[in-house]
Structure formats: C-alpha cells, structure tokens
C-alpha cells in the first residue's frame, strides 16, 4: 500500500530524511517512532503530498506521490485520511459539518452526506453530538471528530501525526482503540508517536527514525 524507494528530503541544507526505503502492506498497522526532529512528520507529509521528496520515489495506494502537481493532489488525498495532534477542526462549524466536509468536496449529495456522517459518528462514539461546536467537546471527543472526518470517505490509508499528543491517558486510549477499529475494517494505518506507553499497550510494527534515517523497521 505504501512503498518508499531511496527517499531523501532536504530543507535547505538540513537533511530531514536520508535514503529511506520501506514498505507497508495493505491492512497493516504501523507506528512511526523516534526522537523529536527525527523526520516522522516529514515522512507523513510526503505521504499525503504536502511536501515532495528531494529525490527517490514513493507510492501510496499505487499513486506516485513524488511527482504530483497541484491538480493531481486532490485525487491522492481522497484516498488518504489524515489526523493531526491539534485536530484541525473548523471552530465555527458543527461536528456534523466538520465531518461532512470530506464528503462535500467529493460532490456527494446532502442526504447521502448526512446519512454517512451519522453512521461514522456512531463508529467513533459521538452519537447525539452532531450539532455541537468543536470547542463544546473534550479534547478526546474533538480528536474523534477528526478521525471521523478522516475515515468518512473510506480511504485506503489513514495517517495520524501524534494523534494522542494533546490527550491525557484515558482519552488517548479511546482514540487509539478507534484507530485500531478503523484498521480492522481494512484500512492501512500509520501512526507517528513517541508515546512508549501506548506502543507497549497496543503493540504493532514500528518504523524507527533517528536523524532522518530509518534505523529499524
């Protein structure tokens, strides 16, 4: 599902990723780990097309993400859900509107959007909170809205950059459990984190980065 061949990423003269070659299969769950500045976020940005590699090649769901232009980018992203540490919800839109946005941009009909949004809010345990604004929810609930938005269009890949970074223990575990549930439905999930406790509790394959190099996979 995800393949990297000798990927380099340089920012100016700083090497964020050095010669990374790795493969993640369809339906797999993997952590991206390593100390701060190791290149975890950079890897995810390359995967969802926010950055291009300086050299090397990467494929996501069969799409070559190393040479995308702005016109092709949306079509890569429709197959990838992304979750961030800071949720990135739209503050003046309801939960339902926030999640529905991912379907709206596909041109889905309103009735269809409503039906699917309600279904996915059920999956993440937010039934009945459709009309709330993000700031009326707890951090854990907000992150679950973000996960709902990322998976509402059934992407093949879910990328999460420190999804539990802003959450305390119980809420972090809730969110992790939802990510695992998503994975069980067949979605390939990649979670960047340096929370050793979580990785111990939910053991999975780990891709460890140090100074931009993949040191263990």
């Amino acid at each position: 599902m995800i393949r990297l061949y000798h990927v380099h990423k340089r920012y100016g003269d700083h090497e964020a990723l050095v010669d990374v070659s790795v493969q993640v299969s369809k339906g797999e769950f993997a952590y991206v780990t390593g100390p701060s500045g190791a290149g975890k976020s950079t890897l995810l940005k390359l995967l969802y097309g926010a950055e291009r590699p300086t050299s090397g090649k990467l494929l996501v769901g069969g799409v070559d993400a190393s040479k995308l232009n702005q016109r092709q980018l949306p079509f890569l992203r429709r197959n990838i859900g992304v979750v961030f540490q800071d949720f990135k919800l739209i503050e003046n839109r309801t939960v339902e509107d926030n999640v529905g946005l991912a379907l709206e941009v596909l041109g889905t009909e309103r009735g269809d959007i409503q039906r699917r949004v309600r279904a996915v809010l059920n999956v993440v345990g937010l039934k009945g909170k459709e009309g709330r604004l993000p700031l009326e929810l707890s951090g854990g609930e907000q992150q679950r809205v973000a996960v709902a938005r990322a998976i509402v269009n059934d992407p093949a890949v879910l990328l999460a950059d420190e999804p539990t970074g802003n959450l305390d223990g119980a809420m972090a575990i809730e969110v992790m459990e939802i990510l695992m549930a998503v994975n069980l439905r067949g979605t390939t999930v990649l979670v960047a984190t340096h929370d050793a406790g979580l990785m111990e509790r939910f053991p999975h394959r780990g891709l460890r980065f140090e100074g931009g190099r993949l040191v263990r996979s």
């Binding site: 940005k45 969802y48 926010a50 702005q70 016109r71 980018l73 949306p74 079509f75 890569l76 992203r77 429709r78 992304v82 990135k88 919800l89 739209i90 503050e91 839109r93 926030n98 946005l101 991912a102 709206e104 941009v105 596909l106 041109g107 938005r149 269009n153």
Partner: protein
C-alpha cells in the same frame, strides 16, 4: 454542486460582510470614476460632432450696408464653387433666434432695440472644401468691405479636438492606473476574507477538494461584488447626470444647441458592469490562488 457553490458563496459573503462591502466599495469607486470620465467624453465628443456637422462661416455686415447690397453679396458668394449654401440672417431673425434659445433675454433685447444683433450671411462650405486649410484660404478671398467680422468655428473645433485627444490619452493612462490599483485593493481585501476562512480552506484542501471546488464560490463572490459595485456606480453616474441636466439646462442649450446632455450608451453601461465583474472576479481569484499554492 451548483447549489453547494451558491450556498458557500453566500455564507462567505454573509460571514465577512464588512470586508465584502469594502471590496464592493472599491469596485464601485473605480467604476464610478470610469463612468464619469466616459460620460464626460461622450458629451464633449458630442459637442464637437455637432459643431463639426455645421461648420459654417458667419460673415457679419456693418449695420449701414443696404439690404439689396447684402443680397448681391449673398448671390456672389453663393455662385462660388466651394460654397454649398448661403443663408441670409436679418437683424430680426438673429434676435428671434436668441430669444428662442435663451429664456428671459427678451426684455433685455427690447431694451436695446430690435437691431442690436447684426445681420449676417451663414455660409456652409461644400463637403470637398470643408478642411481647415481650405476654409482659411476661402476666407482670405472674401474680404468685402461690407463685412465687419468674419467668424468661423473651425479653429476652435481644431483646438478642442486636440484637447479631447489629450483627455483620451490621460483617460487611458489614469484608467489603467486606477484599474490596477483597484485589482490590488480588491485582492488585498479578499486576501483578508480568504485568511478569515483559512482553517476551512486548508481543511478542504487536505480532504481532497479540487481548485475548482475551492475557487468557484469565490469567483461567484467576486462577480457579485463586481455587479453590485458597478451597478451602484452606474446609478451614481446617472444621478450626477440628472443633477447636471437639471442645473445646467439653460447654459447647455446655448452651448450645445438645444440637445440635452447624453447619458452613457447601453454598450458603455454593459462595459462598465463587465469591468466591475472582471475586477471582482480577478481580485478574488488572485487571492484564493495565492492561498491555494501556499497551503499544505
């Protein structure tokens, strides 16, 4: 899809009402300037045309020239090949003409006596002899002692035409400057609108919105700003026009010869409206595009 675009455009208009009003006002000001300029040009050109059409030479008789001598001169001139037509205007006809053109002048004329205006010959040149040089040459050949003054408008028209040409050049130069400034101002105002919606637009890009999907509502927003802005400006130009017609009625009748001030033609109106829409659309698209390229 269209319903969706419309909904988002209206929401954006509503949620950033004051910024949208600023953009609309900028467009309005720019098109108002253009409209006033066009209206002035249309009317000045109209004046020149009406003069040009009846370039004629007025040769005024001394008041002691006997009437039969006046007609003899008229016939001599009428026989010249350069001349299309000669018309004799008596003192009474001249006075009647003035009374007809200018309100309230009658008592003044009565006071001065009916023969205060001189009699004259109105000479209309044949079309092929109508050039400024030919007219000047012709005038040199008609130095009858009976004429007190020989008057013709051509020189004036010439100067006025030069002035108009200058005005046109200035209009194009200033117009382009104003247009550029307006695009810039609208662009920057819309940049604030885009910035206010940054979160939403970034999220939309992140979940796979295309450029068309993101930009269409802004395009519509810009078009609406342009339409409203230039519509208001047109109304403003029309208001000014009515006001001037009302205020200057009498003076205008004398200068232009009875024709009222003309308003902008339909093509000019639609042109102004389109220019406003173009301004709004370009301003909006420029700022959304700037955002679109920079967003992750």
């Amino acid at each position: 899809m269209m319903a969706h675009v419309l909904r988002r455009a209206l929401r954006s208009l509503w949620e950033n009402l004051s910024l949208n009003l600023v953009a609309t006002a900028v467009i309005s000001a720019a098109t108002l300037l253009a409209g006033v300029y066009l209206a002035v040009m249309v009317n000045l050109t109209g004046v020149v045309d009406s003069w040009d059409r009846d370039v004629h030479i007025s040769a005024y008789f001394f008041s002691d020239v006997p009437v039969d001598r006046r007609f003899a001169v008229k016939d001599e001139l009428g026989a010249r090949p350069e001349v299309a037509e000669v018309h004799y205007v008596s003192e009474q006809e001249a006075a009647a003409w003035l009374v007809d053109k200018v309100q309230d002048v009658e008592p003044v004329l009565a006071e001065l006596g009916p023969e205060v205006l001189p009699s004259s010959l109105e000479i209309t040149m044949a079309d092929e002899a109508n050039g400024p040089a030919q007219i000047a040459a012709f005038i040199d050949t008609i130095d009858y002692a009976e004429f007190e003054v020989i008057d013709y408008g051509q020189e004036w028209v010439q100067r006025f035409n030069t002035f108009l040409a200058l005005l046109q050049v200035m209009g194009v130069v200033l117009g382009s400057l104003i247009f550029t400034a307006a695009v810039f101002l609208v662009g920057n105002t819309m940049h604030l609108v885009v910035y206010a919606r940054k979160q939403e637009l970034e999220t939309m890009k992140l979940v796979g919105a295309t450029w068309t999907f993101i930009s269409l509502p802004f395009l519509l927003e810009g078009a609406l700003q342009g339409l409203v802005g230039s519509g208001v400006a047109l109304l403003g130009v029309y208001g000014l026009h009515r006001l001037l017609v009302f205020q200057l009625q009498d003076a205008l009748q004398l200068a232009i010869g009875g024709e009222a001030l003309s308003f902008l033609s339909w093509p000019a109106c639609t042109g102004l409206l389109s220019a406003g829409v173009f301004l709004g659309v370009v301003g909006c698209l420029v700022s959304v595009h700037r955002f679109w390229r920079a967003a992750p």
